[in-house]
Amino acid sequence: MPVSPVFNPQDALRFLPEIILTVMGTLLMVLDPLIHRRSSPAFGHISLVALLAALGGSVYANSIAGPAFGGMLKVDGFATFFRVLVIVVGILTVFPSYRFLARQEAETSEYHALLLFSIAGQCLMAASNDLIMVFIGLEISSIASYVLAGYLRDDKRSNESALKYFLLGSFATGFFLYGVALIYGITGSVNLTVARDAILHQAGDSTLFVGVAAALIFVGLAFKVSAAPFQIWAPDVYQGAPTPVAAFLSAGPKAAAFAVFLRIFMTAFEPIAGKWQILVWTAALASMCVGNFAALLQTNIKRMLAYSSIAHAGYVLVALTAQSETGIAAAMFYLAGYAFMNVGAFAAVTVLTGKGERYQSIDDFKGMGRQQPLAAAMFSIFLLSLIGVPLTGGFFGKFYIFKAALESKLVWLSVLGLLNSAVGAYYYLRILVVMYMHEPGEAVESSEALSGSLGIALLLPALGTLVLGIFPGWVLEFASKSAAIMK
């Protein structure tokens, strides 16, 4: 499909969220010298406005769904779902950032600009139907996140986090790009639809190379979603990154990477599904086991949540292993639920960490239930959702995933996955134990009263978690419809 040289205004409208986010991000940087105060909340407000506008833009783009820029982008229900998801993650990240940045006395304009750029990249990933577009989106998103991870530049851990993330991240991107090059060599196109047809109609000798390309792309994306055995970076990065950034990293880029994962593997590589299934099967099981068992041993709460996010990546991979429409819908639903509960959990962590992020140990949360009853109650909701207790989004997510897996006759993977989730219950319960069953310690005693923005940062995701847990119907319906028309 050749790129049309004529500019089509409809294309720009389908590209609206990315345009809004980029323009507003640039505006933030321009405004920086004009608003002199170091930790002004004004930038946060602008960032919120930008995100809300982008949210409106995504919804509008969905109403004129279709391909854009000669098929390089494809705005459909699937793209809209993930665009909305990453933008919501952005909104949920802005709220805890207010208090956090003020407490660390950090610059705010660049922070929010980077956040917007990163989200713009993720929106692009969600909508792209072309491997080069995926790559560009991935890079926009990643480079902004590398800087965000090292945002507290006086903090050694933050620097380590950024460096690790950058080095390993670019290495993984290299794998991805190599896979893209192979696909271009075999099929003569980087467009997913074209590539799919080419793979479908090609016989014999090139299937090996298609397999190699799929494996390389798998490695690149598995890194981005922190699936085992490519998960090594996650604990260090999440631990060192500023807590709201860790919240963002664990949900936003991951959701976008999964969007690409699903799109590429369920369209272009669908014809060779039998070949890559075992790959994903293994990665799913390995991620669940590594994540859950390693999390059992952690004493740092951010590290523990990092390992838990590896385990959750494993659950989503189970849905991908199912290779069905219900599997795709389940993965989409799960990622939505996961975004709420995980961002919420990190936001709850920010309540206590204090200046310089001194308090990160699980023991520092002792007695949180007494001093910060609201924050502790919301944290409990997120933890119960992460465990997968009914009436929370996390439960329905798991339920749909294992339902899809059992439909595809993945009995062993399902049973092992469910048992894994029982193992996972242990380390989440540990936080509940210290919050409610111990007397307050130093961190809790010295914690400040819950500020308004932080309160919203906890209430919004808690509301989202509960709504997804009690009325999952409409989100799932939208996901199912989008999954059905994705191919």
Partner: protein, 513 residues
């Protein structure tokens, strides 16, 4: 509004309102609210008794509202002759738990009573649910408040006990979830009546190996909850460490979730597998009966003793169920209720002793009968009921279970009756050491007799022991009707008698297979 909705959602409303009580309000406000709300639920459940039609068996007062479109999940609830009594048991015990926690819970009272009401909501839901998914939801909902009740308000090793309790139950229930999803993928419905209908019409069959795995997945979850030997190890910890109200709810009602699950789901859904496993399960039940009794005998701690006696008593229930006979099933259900009443009362009075003396060790007591005669009388009646003295409730249940077991296999009945004898040994021995003998120093002047509030908590239970002991016909007919239906679903070839209003009526069961 349907009465079932009222009974189910009153505790939930109570829970939400209890959460809304401001922190500045005194501790008294939340407990008064909990008492009002739980008494209201009890009154509503008595209405259930009036509305329940004893003439017809099966599920009654059904509500079926679509909840989630895909997958097709319904909010479907109804009540039958077995769940009716279990619901009444839950609603009766909750206000009593509030009464017995009145002065003992001083810390975070609001949360305590809120969790107690949430627990009641979950328990009632488990007994009412007619949609497999909904059942699972309620099953897990019960877990959370009990976890907090043990973990926050328990004794010294409360955290260990709470986590152990949660993980044991969770491990079992995820397998049940897998089995539920499997059944859904096969039938495209979670509706339990619809699945039973498909089974009976032959549109749905589970091949033998598949049926066995599904049965085991369900049974494992239920057996942990019962608990069946050798899966019982969480129980003594949880019981000993829980606050009194937690022990009562756990022993009296939560354990019945397991036995009710076996009776209501395992048997009708997987009859062939259930019967294939029956000998093994019965042997485990008998081991549990004798083992529980022997371990109870050597316990120096009163709560632990009562906890192990629960293992023993629940063994009877399992034995009765897997005898696949009408008296066996009736006895099992009756024993579920009896155990709820008498063990609830035991934990209640042990809790009252603890409140006075701050010890659970039998060795710290002695001569309590001299200083607190009424308390001793109450405990004596409860002890005798627990042993199975005729005219008190447990006798009826144990008799029926042993009768059923004897029909199925005479040796089982013989071995099980050893447990009855042992129960007399450990209970009376404990009674003797605690209440008789020299009045020890710690007891003298420290143990006042029952107060009016405590009387209010004890009297209903004692009244029930006597009533259920001498007036079993007030309770058994709806049970028999329901168990007969279950037996029919399991294709057992027996004839059974249903007594409706004194007129004996013999009904035939289809002699299938």
């Amino acid at each position: 509004m349907n009465l079932l909705n009222t009974v189910l959602f009153l505790p939930l409303a109570g829970f939400l309102l209890a959460l809304a009580i401001p922190r500045s309000a005194s501790a008294g406000a939340s407990r008064v609210w909990a008492l009002i709300s739980s008494l209201g639920t009890f009154a509503a459940s008595l209405g259930l008794l009036a509305w329940f039609d004893r003439g017809t068996g099966g599920e009654q007062l059904a509500i079926d509202v679509p909840w989630i479109a895909t997958p097709n999940i319904h909010f479907a609830i109804s009540v039958n002759g077995v769940s009716l009594w279990l619901i009444l048991l839950s609603t009766l015990l909750t206000p009593l738990c509030v009464l017995c926690s009145w002065n003992t819970i001083k810390d975070r009272t609001k949360e305590f009573y809120a969790f107690l009401l949430l627990l009641e909501f979950g328990l009632i839901g488990v007994f009412l649910a007619q949609d497999l998914f909904l059942f699972y939801v309620f099953w897990e909902v019960c877990l959370v408040p009990m976890y907090f009740l043990i973990g926050i308000w328990g004794h010294d090793r409360r955290i260990y006990a709470a986590v152990k309790f949660f993980l044991y139950t969770m491990a079992g229930s995820v397998l049940m979830l897998a089995a539920i999803i499997f059944i859904y993928n096969k039938t495209q419905t979670f509706s339990y009546p619809a699945i039973l209908e498909m089974l009976s019409s032959g549109r749905l069959t589970f091949p033998a190996s598949e049926q066995m795995l599904l049965f085991l997945a369900f049974f494992f979850a239920f057996a942990i909850k019962v608990p069946l030997f050798p899966l019982h190890t969480w129980l003594p910890d949880a019981h000993v460490e829980a606050p009194t109200a937690g022990s009562i709810m756990l022993a009296s009602v939560m354990l019945k979730m397991g036995t009710y699950g076996i009776l209501h789901f395992c048997l009708p859904l997987f009859p062939a597998a259930a019967r294939a496993c029956a000998p093994w399960i019965s042997v485990l039940a008998i081991i549990g009966i004798i083992y529980g009794a022997l371990v109870a005998m050597v316990q120096p701690n009163m709560k632990k003793l009562v906890a192990y006696s629960s293992v023993s008593h629940l063994g009877f229930v399992i034995l009765g169920i897997f005898s696949f006979t009408q008296p066996g099933l009736d006895g099992a259900v009756y024993q579920m209720l009896n155990h709820g009443i008498s063990t609830g009362a035991l934990f209640l009075i042990v809790g009252l002793l603890y409140e006075r003396r701050h010890s659970l060790e039998i060795g710290d007591y002695g001569g309590v009968a001299t200083v607190a005669p009424w308390l001793s009388v109450a405990f004596l009646i409860t002890t005798l009921a627990s042993i199975g003295l005729p005219t008190l409730n447990n006798f009826v249940g144990e008799f029926l279970v042993l009768q059923g077991a004897a029909i199925a296999n005479f040796q089982w009945a013989v071995w099980a009756s050893v447990g009855v004898i042992l129960s007399a040994c450990y209970m009376l021995w404990m009674y003797q050491r605690v209440f008789y003998g020299e009045v020890s120093d710690g007891v003298r002047g420290h143990i006042p007799d029952l107060s009016a509030r405590e009387w209010a908590a004890v009297i209903p239970l004692i009244a029930m022991m006597v009533w259920m002991g001498i007036g079993s016909q007030s309770f058994l007919p709806p049970v028999s009707q329901n168990t007969a239906v279950i037996l029919k679903q399991t294709n057992v070839n027996v004839s059974y008698r249903v007594q409706v209003e004194g007129k004996p009526k013999t009904a035939e069961v289809a002699s299938a297979r």
